[in-house]
């Protein structure tokens, strides 16, 4: 079933049309990649899909609810979460605390409950911590749970951001170039992690440059070029698609 649909989205910046009438569907339980040469409009499309930018035309609908223009914390509560190209962690908090903040939207005890230390508070806090450890284990990071995020190496920072996003209990998770700055080993681990996440029932959308990763993990791929969708389908078809090959060969410095 279609979970997220992008419907005729157009986004202009001044005279430049960054995204031009793009439509596609993301199906539940899949890993869906959005690729394209530099300047193809991937990041803009991504920002519109996550509700960060309002499109000039078209809409983005998540399970029947239009998320275009909705406030970020509401979108998260619906079950849509995103990460950024530049990691945005809470650097002075430990890895575990970062994940706990991610769980904010899903835990209930309010200000008064905490202030009065109602009986439910301790139980909920303990459950939250157990769950946070489980999430860290999912990305193989439980051993560094007490390390401040600011002291972690780049690869682990990216994984921690994914872990924190998972903690919001998303139905769908959108990752903006998750492999940026990772070495080959780390990229392979990332691919493994993404598959594990999909297998827990979370739909994954990635915007990614690393063609190896995309071809390996994706179930579906959408290719953008100069703001337009030029192809979509499973990896094997995309690799042979003449329009895609043309677009990538036409690029002076291919990234992949």
């Amino acid at each position: 079933m279609s979970m997220l649909s992008v419907r005729g989205v157009t986004k202009r910046f001044g005279g430049v049309t960054a995204v031009d009438d793009v439509s596609f569907e993301v199906f539940e339980g899949t890993i869906h990649a959005v690729i394209g040469p530099n300047g193809a409009g991937k990041s803009t499309a991504f920002n519109v899909m996550t509700g960060f930018d309002r499109p000039d035309a078209g809409s983005v609908v998540f399970e029947g609810a239009t998320i275009t223009g909705m406030r970020p914390h509401r979108i998260v509560r619906l079950g849509v979460v995103r990460t950024f190209q530049n990691t945005m962690l809470f650097d002075e908090m430990t890895a575990l605390e970062n994940v706990l903040v991610g769980m904010h939207a899903r835990t209930r005890v309010g200000f008064l409950g905490a202030a009065l230390s109602l009986p439910g508070v301790h139980a909920e806090e303990r459950l939250a911590r157990e769950q946070a450890h489980r999430i860290l284990r999912l990305v193989d990071m439980d051993d560094v749970h007490a390390v401040p995020a600011g002291d972690l190496p780049h690869g682990q920072r990216r994984l921690l951001e994914i872990a924190r996003a998972l903690a919001t209990e998303p139905r769908i998770m959108l990752l903006d170039e998750p492999a940026a700055g990772l070495n080959n080993v780390e990229t392979a681990q990332l691919g493994e992690t993404l598959r594990r996440i999909r297998d827990t029932g979370v739909t994954v959308v990635i915007v990614e440059h690393d063609m190896g990763l995309v071809m390996e993990v994706s179930d579906e791929i959408v290719v953008l070029n100069e703001g337009r969708k030029i192809a979509e389908g499973p990896p094997l078809l995309i690799q042979k698609d003449p329009a895609v090959i043309e677009a990538y060969l036409g690029e002076e410095t291919p990234d992949a």
């Binding site: 914390h73 998260v76 002075e92 908090m93 903040v101 991610g102 939207a105 919001t168």
Partner: protein, 292 residues
């Protein structure tokens, strides 16, 4: 000077310092949530005392009811102030917001003058009785109350920040507001609660000290300078550092008294300038690490 005299000065320093600490905590909490120095903080201190006096003398409520009631009312006023005066301009430069808080401070003081008059208003000590004697120095019962209140407050805040969902949300907002929003945190609500909490802390300080000094509509600005100096001394960072800044400022003031008691009120400003010139990150914090 004799040991007992020194001890007496130290006790006075730690008493005043505890009050500065509570105000410094208020400055620190609002700064963490908004990057704004809230110069209305001293008015919450004044209003705390005022509402306690009102509840106790006008409505003849018991002191044990009047005090917490005053704190709650002022916490509400703090949140209302944020909603009406700060939130509508929340995307403005911090400097514009700081000016708003200065204006708010003036408004609170004039309203208090109209509502409560311009006389100094007293409140009885929380528990009556003679002072405790300790190695030749006297400790007033109210001073013990003040210390107890500060201890409980700091313990409570430490618990809030490290062990609760709300505290984590507050720290998350402090470190990266954008990311906090993405994690489903309603940052507008966190800012409002921060103002309420800061106002409550100011009110606690004001209520605790009124039995010793009385309260008057115009005491807010003076204490705000002290609290601000203590907050800067502590580095506007962790709650513990704010408390340390407050206690230290109280002790420095008393250290000056044997030389010239007229200098006491200049100390806070001197400390403020010295810290800003020599160690702007405060005494207890490493210089901010630059992150990409």
């Amino acid at each position: 000077m004799e040991t007992s005299e020194l001890l007496q000065l130290a006790i006075a320093g730690l008493k005043n310092g505890s009050i500065y600490a509570l105000l410094a905590l208020g400055f620190t909490i609002v700064y963490a949530a908004t990057n704004v120095i809230n110069f209305a903080q001293g008015e919450f201190y004044m209003l705390g005392g005022m509402f306690a006096v009102l509840a106790f003398t006008q409505f003849e409520l018991p002191l044990l009811v009047s005090v917490p009631l005053a704190v709650l009312v002022v916490a509400g006023i703090g949140m209302l102030f944020e909603t009406l005066a700060i939130r509508p301009r929340k995307d403005a430069e911090p400097m514009a917001l700081i000016i708003i808080t200065v204006g708010g401070s003036l408004v609170f003081a004039s309203l208090a003058r109209h509502a409560f008059g311009s006389d100094a208003l007293p409140l009885p000590e929380f528990t009556a009785g003679p002072s405790f004697l300790f190695a030749g120095a006297a400790i007033e019962r109210q001073t013990v109350w003040i210390w107890g209140i500060v201890l409980v407050t700091v313990a409570g805040l430490t618990f809030l920040y490290s062990k609760t969902r709300l505290g984590r949300a507050m720290r998350a907002c402090m470190q990266n507001r954008e990311a906090a929003r993405l994690m489903g945190i309603d940052t507008a609500r966190v800012v409002m609660i921060s103002f309420g909490l800061a106002a409550a802390l100011g009110a606690v300080a004001g209520v605790a000290v009124t039995p010793l000094t009385s309260t008057r509509f115009d005491i807010g600005a003076g204490i705000a300078v002290k609290g601000f100096a203590a907050a800067i001394l502590g580095g506007l960072g962790s709650p513990l550092a704010a408390v340390a800044g407050g206690l230290l400022l109280g002790l420095i003031e008393q250290a000056v008294i044997p030389f010239s008691s007229a200098l006491k009120d200049v100390v806070a400003l001197g400390v403020l300038l010295a810290v800003l010139f020599l160690r702007p990150q405060g005494l207890f914090r490493r210089a901010r690490r630059e992150k990409m």
